[in-house]
Amino acid sequence: MFKSAQSVERLIAELTRLPGIGRKTAQRLTFWILKMKKDDAARLAQAILDVKEKVRRCSICSNITETEPCHICLDSKRDRTTVCVVEEANDVLALEKSGEYRGLYHVLEGALSPLDGIGPEKLRFKELVDRIGSGVKEVIIATNPNVEGEATAVYISKLMKPLRVKVTRIARGLPVGSDLEYADQSTLSKALQGRQEF
């Protein structure tokens, strides 16, 4: 196989390690970077270093943050009686975009998955239990609606039982703005099961 300059090969190899990027895409990105102005390339490199150096996890909710605690935990206007439990920090980002939720978060840093060696001891359940004492009235479980996320939700509800706190699970249903006929059958059937009085 033809090999280009060694440094080019190295960049391609590094990019290939990123999720969702195969060799072809890595090549395209590499040649794009080659054509970039030097300043632009330096900015990209610096941005990557900055995330690694400045961003860390919030000691309370484990969301990614540059401040300690994070801006959500710090925000006095937010409702401190509800905690929304999510698997990953990017789920916080998604929920924040909706603008609907005004409470606090708790990032578990994963979901129960014995196949990947992830048991309860590897997730931030203990920290969640510790937080409940401080005036929390409702725990909203927003783990993913797949096998692992559902098992994690059951685990949380068991954990919360002795703590006398209201536990809710986000609804599963149809994507807003889409057509019923395009929804897949599993989603439709769950949406029917979870129907509400009108």
Binding site: L112, P114, P120, E121, V147, E148, A151, Y155, K158, S189
Partner: protein, 397 residues
């Protein structure tokens, strides 16, 4: 008897016109599939006879048609086995009608890659959408394995049959499989610790997977029970009309775990009470993956007491029952593939079968001895298969 069977159901009477000219494939093209290197086959929407010597490729043609409907082999063969030797890939195309609409299916398989499926020229990432197009039931020499084979053969029969009727069943099975894999991984880990420490660690994390296994498992049980309840009555009816007296044909669903009341709670309780055993075995010992069916004729177990001939008749009755059940549920009967039935049955049974065939939708029958099918006038399309080539023989024998 046969033609009267369908009239018993009022729903079918309404659909009757549609029903008879129901699902059918009119044109099938094969490329590098087993010994059929390149073939184009025209089919009649009614009764097709395929003849040729042994090893010519008759069953392979039926297998290809079955594959076009399910993306699976009716012999349980892997995709690699179905690819012609030395070929890079195999490819199947089929045109036909289902639910009154024209449907075109294309499936290609290349080792090391995902199956490529197109329905009506649109790429379809999920094989499960194939199940809603052409429904199919097959019967052949290998089907005695339904009685003699391992329980997995019977579960496979259940799963493929139900998947054709209930589209959600496939995702349910997939969810169960995933849950089972997670639970087994946990039992492996905890089982090791249990052996060295003598105590169960993280018992509560096992409870979570117990509940999940129980809730998904119960849904699988429900679907299987529903299916068997409808099919077993039909099957004993067909068995009677095929044999006239041979004793009642009964199929019984043995559910795992055995419970007094089938609720999620009872299922999870059962798992809890057998926890030590599962930890020692380091795998899930109860659930739909351990389900089975037993067949009996006149109250004796088929596997130990029935002759091979009786077993063949019983499994044929079962398959015909599935055909009728699919027809009842979906409004049109499936395509029926009958592989080498003439060599297996006596005259009286064959007469009963051909009586039933005239009330089916599309039927494909193979035979190696043309004279055995000669007095059956129901066929309106006759194909000849010879060393991997398919030729039209005509519409009359």
């Amino acid at each position: 008897m046969g033609s009267r069977r369908f009239q018993r159901h009022s729903v079918c009477d309404v659909f009757r016109v549609n029903y008879i000219h129901g699902v059918n494939l009119s044109n099938v093209r094969l490329n590098q599939f087993r010994n059929l290197a390149a073939a184009e086959v025209q089919l009649s929407p009614k009764a097709n006879l395929i003849f040729g010597s042994n090893g010519a490729g008759k069953s392979n043609l039926l297998e290809a048609i079955y594959y076009l409907c399910t993306a699976k082999s009716f012999r349980g063969a892997s995709d690699d086995e179905m690819k012609a030797r030395d070929a890079e890939f195999f490819r199947l195309e089929g045109d036909g009608k289902a639910a009154g609409q024209s449907v075109r299916i294309e499936i290609a398989y290349k080792p090391g890659e995902k199956k490529r499926l197109k329905i009506n020229d649109v790429a379809e990432p999920r094989v499960s959408s194939l199940y809603e197009q052409f429904r199919v039931v097959s019967f052949g020499p290998d089907d005695v394995e339904l009685v003699y084979g391992a329980p997995s053969v019977r579960r496979r029969f259940l799963d493929i049959s139900i998947a054709q009727i209930e589209p959600l069943y496939i995702s349910l099975l997939w969810e169960y499989k995933k849950t089972l894999a997670q639970r087994n991984a946990l039992l492996r880990d905890l089982g090791e610790a249990y052996e060295s420490l003598g105590a169960i660690e993280y018992e509560e994390s096992l409870e979570v997977w117990d509940e999940k296994l129980a809730s998904v498992g119960l849904a699988v049980h429900d679907a299987r029970r529903r299916f068997l309840r409808s099919v077993s009555d039909l099957a004993s009816g067909y068995h009677q009309s095929l044999t006239n007296m041979d004793g009642d044909f009964v199929m019984e669903y043995s559910i795992s775990p055995r419970l007094d009341d089938y609720s999620q709670c009872a299922f999870a309780e059962k798992l809890k009470s057998r926890r030590r055993r599962e930890l020692m075995m380091r795998q899930s010992m109860y659930g739909p993956h351990r389900d089975d069916i037993t067949f009996s004729i006149g109250r004796s177990d088929c596997r130990s007491f029935a002759s091979r001939g009786q077993v063949k008749t019983a499994t044929l009755a079962l398959k015909l029952a599935v055909v009728e059940h699919i027809g009842n549920v979906c409004g049109e009967p499936p395509i029926l593939l009958l592989d080498e039935i003439y060599s297996d049955f006596d005259r009286a049974r064959l007469d009963a079968v051909s009586g039933l065939l005239s009330s089916m939708s599309q039927v494909l029958v193979t035979t190696s001895k043309l004279e055995e099918a000669r007095d059956l006038t129901i066929f309106d399309n006759i194909l000849m298969v010879e060393s991997g080539k398919v030729a039209l023989h005509g519409t009359h024998l």
